[in-house]
Structures are given as structure tokens and as C-alpha cells.
Symmetry: C2
Subunit: 100 residues, 2 copies
């Protein structure tokens, strides 16, 4: 199961480190507890919509851009989880039998 909060956490942490900001700095600007932001970044806690908006403001990135990044990461994860048709040729039964 693809979990939104995990890819959202990745996107938010990625943006924060891109700006060279510490959790403490973002916490101060967004007026959200450091522990909460840390848990959101690690995908352990759901971010409320209000917190998400505050974090985007503090990270100077539009929410729409974060969501696009998350949508992309989720699409990659979905593609990896899709059952792929088996294309590997199996060895003929007699070869398998003789190998036993």
C-alpha cells in the first residue's frame, strides 16, 4: 500500500535540506513543534492541512509544487508495485529435474 504521508515526508525533508535549514529553524518560522515536524518528515505522523500550509510557507514553496512532487514519487512507487508480466524464460522441466 502506497502511503501518502511517507512520500509527503520525503518531499518536505528534501525541500528543507535543499534550503539548508535545520528542523529547529523551520519549527521557529512555522510555529510548529520540532518533534511534530520531525515525525511528519519521517512519515510517522499525518500532517494536518493547516500544518502543511504553514510548513510550505516556512519552506517558501507553494503547496501545489509539493503535491506535484509527491504525486510523482507516488506514481514511481505505484509502478514498482505493479505486478509485471513474467518474461524470464524458465528452464525446461528435464533440465530442472537433472539439476536436482
Amino acid at each position: 500500500m502506497v502511503l501518502f504521508r511517507q512520500r509527503l515526508g520525503d518531499a518536505l525533508r528534501s525541500r528543507r535540506t535543499e534550503l539548508g535549514l535545520t528542523l529547529r529553524e523551520v519549527s521557529g518560522v512555522a510555529r510548529v513543534s520540532l518533534g511534530y515536524i520531525s515525525e511528519v518528515e519521517r512519515g510517522q505522523k499525518e500532517a494536518s492541512s493547516e500544518l502543511l500550509s504553514s510548513l510550505c510557507d516556512a519552506l517558501e514553496v507553494p503547496l501545489s509544487v509539493v503535491l506535484r512532487d509527491v504525486a510523482h514519487a507516488v506514481a514511481v512507487e505505484e509502478a514498482a508495485l505493479e505486478p509485471t508480466p513474467i518474461t524470464v524464460r524458465t528452464r525446461p522441466a528435464e533440465v530442472v529435474a537433472s539439476a536436482a
Copy 2:
């Protein structure tokens, strides 16, 4: 402030009505209470990541597609909220004064 849960609710309801499904039907397939889904659709409750995945499965739409739709709707809302430069010409002071 642009709230994620409101645009997410719109996207989920839009997909459900597109499929011609009732809240009760989605509730049955997703095994989530009808009241919860209804509140999520109206943007009144945050959907947990697990619920969101279940809803997407029930609505036969990848989470990534829902998130892309939400990102687009949020971008439109952000553009509408941006302060636009004033381009309307104001009437000269004397005309305004004579109109008083």
C-alpha cells in the same frame, strides 16, 4: 490559506460521482464508515493515508492521479489568492472631486 483536505475532498467526490457510485457503495467496498467518507469529501476531516489508499482502490483510481488533480486545483487556488498588480486606471482627482 489553501487547505489540502478541501481540494482532496473535491477530487474524491468528483471521482465517485464520475463512476456513478453512492457514498454507501464506496463505504462498502472501502470498508470505511459512510460518515467518515462523507466528512472527508466535504473537506471537514483529514483522511489518514491508509483511508486515502483504500478510497482510491474503491474508486479504481491510482493515488498518484488523485494527487495530481489535487495539485492542479491547489495551483489554481494559489493563483487566485496571489495579490495582482493594480492595472485599472483611477480617475483623475478633479473628476472624483466633481462627482462628489
